[in-house]
Symmetry: C2
Subunit: 463 residues, 2 copies
């Protein structure tokens, strides 16, 4: 398919410039302050799809941010690939830790990326990976090599739990009819170890509020005699994990599916240096559930993390206050077959149960997501594997991802479709962190691989 | 002394209006944003002293905020009372919890204050209580009843640890020569149970920082495999107290002076309803060190409170971040003979010692303060007791205060002077909290009592 790569080579600089323009739009879905930017971003995507050659594109409103839909049907008899991605991004804070502004993209060379990487919020997650599909599609259209019908569904609420997507899928079921869903929102094991994500963790996310006295108190006058809600919150959080790193929430592990000896063996064979891992993170020791390796702890085992905590005086200087309230955002990564609603309910019950008499607690569920597993013995996996092999020159390894793409199970439930998670990011891309970036190598490899997938998938389906 | 009370009655409305003007100045010493306001407040105090009748007043600069000094020497043979107070105030946040703006004083009637109370930051702590001395002084001058020489020393850094006061005292030792120091910055047991504070707790205040990975991480990609500094901070804080409410910092209790059976018996006789206490605070249960009463826990026993905690994502919505750092402000109230430097050092050692390998910790000391005890069998106590009895119609009870006025021990060390803590606030005044207020009853009682103290003290000293 040299014509494809020729076209990509000729146009790669423009592909990069277009992505940079997209990254300048601060489409932060979690913060209402960016409302207009998120909508402008949707318009940008629609226009990009039209320029790339879809028959029609449309901004479909939802109760929240719209979904951008586009399609090109070349032959009803050919298989149809439904591409999913999201144009919203995580908040940029802590902004002071960025070396360059989050929404002023710059290309910098790094040790890992001598070809250069684009630094900006969303560079990888998911604007960079999503835009690869737009440019791969353009390439297939312009080189007349499009082998399947294609439909695009690019949403704007992934980073806040895709709350309105379920309703969208149900309402648009017919229009979304397809044979497979293709998503690039995951990572490779490394630049030279291509991989396809065969499993994802689910998510249960809650916010807790602990209330002590009915007003902030002077810690001198009341300290020692009245329970301090911050201290109590710390006690409660500390009690949620035991010394073996096991989560103490009652019934938390009830539905955890044990991973087969074979799969654990395969995971243990993935090239991985713990020393290197610790060095990159600047930590002396790793920490996790007893009896599992670092790779397993980050993929096939459930977790509990405090994503945010606040209470009392957090300004400059010292204030001797015994506060009325303390808060925390707590998320749990789930594995098959834990259900987010099940776990959220168990957490709520447990947290309320362990709350001592001298405080009151409130547990508010945020979004959740189902864990998912993608079978290796399927046409869609084979097509992805062949496509990657063609682009990377070596067969990809199946890998469990630690993150959550809740919509994967949603797609299966509502549309009855399997999802291929063919991502090109790297764990070092610092997604959700300051200085998020995406390697030009990865961006290009994605654009090269996607047309291969279309071709391979069409072949497999037509046999 | 009816002439005195006559003058007070005639001028009380003006006294109140003047205090309200003073309360409009946001002299927050902890926040550099209010620098100019703090300096303006010093100027206001100097002018008030001049109007009240001092021979001379002066704004004495320090490395931080200035001390306002004023004096009136009527006869070198008469005893001299050195009045201490502070014109700086605590930050107003959380501002959203104030029923009326913190720096727009309003007078409202409450169940406890049918005569009305002034609501504003600093209304009680310490502008209201400090200004009573200015108005009591004016009253004595204008009614020609001043019985002692008087010196004023009103500082602007009490709420941030009086960092520059020690140097000021040493430099101004001669000018500050006096027989006793009089301070109103404490509370009465209740409106109808006058009391004099005979003991104060000291303070050790530290800020801790826990660092995990060298950058914020995606909790899906790394969660479960890398220690989360917020969870670790919670574990560490939880471990600082055992189930009996005892502080586990090594050697923390080494120098704690046991309080005599007699004094504990006297404390147990102070009128106090725990049910009422809980009702006012809106709590189901009190919590504290095993083996001590609520009054004892809040006065004669040391404490450990988290005054503030923060880390990770604390904005709107949900962010699945595994943060690099977590922070807390922790203060310990001390009792005789614990030293703030001793305890801060012990805390630092302990906190660093219990830090697990997978994080690094930093402990930064803020200000500290020595605990203090004021002897009951002294001229100054007797004078205060007689003065209160005259104003309230009943003998005051000696009471241990839970708060800290670090400068009391400083005065003894540097100036060799005893301090009388004759405060007129109430624990319900919400100092350091939203809706701080000061009863007009208390404001007036203070202005009535202070001249009585001057008269009684002169009598005792001249016999």
């Amino acid at each position: 398919m040299s014509t494809l790569n020729e076209y990509i080579s000729k146009n790669f600089d423009r592909f990069t410039d277009e992505l940079i323009e997209l990254l300048k739009i601060p489409s932060v879905s979690a913060d209402p302050a960016y409302k207009d930017d998120v909508h402008n971003c949707a318009a940008f995507i629609k226009e990009s799809l039209e320029k790339a050659g879809v028959d029609k594109a449309e901004i479909v409103p939802t109760k929240g941010y719209p979904v951008v839909y586009g399609e090109k049907i070349i032959d009803p008899k050919l298989p149809t690939v439904l591409v999913y991605g999201h144009y919203d991004v995580q908040p940029a804070d802590p902004v002071e830790l960025w070396d360059s502004p989050a929404f002023e993209p710059v290309i910098k060379k790094t040790e890992l990326h001598p070809e250069g990487a684009i630094f900006a919020r969303g560079a990888c997650d998911d604007k960079g990976q999503m835009y690869m599909h737009v440019k791969a599609f353009e390439t297939m259209v312009k080189t007349d090599t499009l082998a399947c019908n294609v439909k695009f569904m690019i949403e704007g609420e992934e980073e806040v739990g895709s709350e309105n997507l379920a309703h969208f899928l149900k309402a648009e079921k017919e229009r979304l009819a397809a044979d497979v869903i293709l998503v690039s929102d995951t990572a490779l094991v490394s630049k030279d170890v291509p991989s396809i994500t065969t499993g994802l963790r689910g998510l249960s996310y809650v916010e807790v509020e602990v209330t002590g006295p009915n007003r902030d108190l002077h810690s001198g006058v009341y300290g020692g005699a009245v329970a301090n809600p911050i201290n109590v919150l710390c006690d409660m959080i500390a009690s949620l994990q035991d010394e073996d790193g096991r989560i103490t929430v009652e019934g938390f592990y009830d539905n955890v599916q044990m991973v087969s000896h074979e799969e654990r063996k395969a995971m243990s064979e993935i090239p991985f240096s713990e020393e290197d891992y610790k060095k990159k993170l600047g930590i002396k020791e790793v920490k996790g559930e007893k009896g599992y390796s670092t790779i397993e702890r980050a993929s096939i085992r459930p977790t509990l993390d405090v994503n945010g905590i606040w209470g009392g005086y957090i300004g400059e200087g010292a204030k001797t206050v015994l506060p009325s309230k303390a808060y925390a955002k707590i998320s749990m990564r789930l594995v098959p077959n834990q259900g987010p609603d099940e776990i959220t309910e168990k957490f709520k019950k447990h947290f309320e149960k362990i709350a001592p008499d001298y405080v009151s607690v409130k547990v508010t569920p945020h979004h959740g997501g189902e864990p998912a597993v993608i079978p290796v013995d399927s046409d869609e996996y084979r097509a992805a594997s062949k496509a990657m092999e063609a682009a990377f020159g070596k067969e990809p390894v199946p890998a469990r991802g630690g993150g959550s793409i809740p919509i994967v199970s949603l797609f299966e439930k509502v549309l009855g479709l399997k999802t291929v998670l063919m991502g090109f990011g790297l764990d070092t891309d610092a997604i959700h962190s300051p200085n998020e970036h995406y390697g030009l190598f990865n961006y290009r490899k994605g654009i090269e691989t996607i047309p291969q997938f279309f071709a391979e998938y069409a072949k497999l389906k037509n046999n």
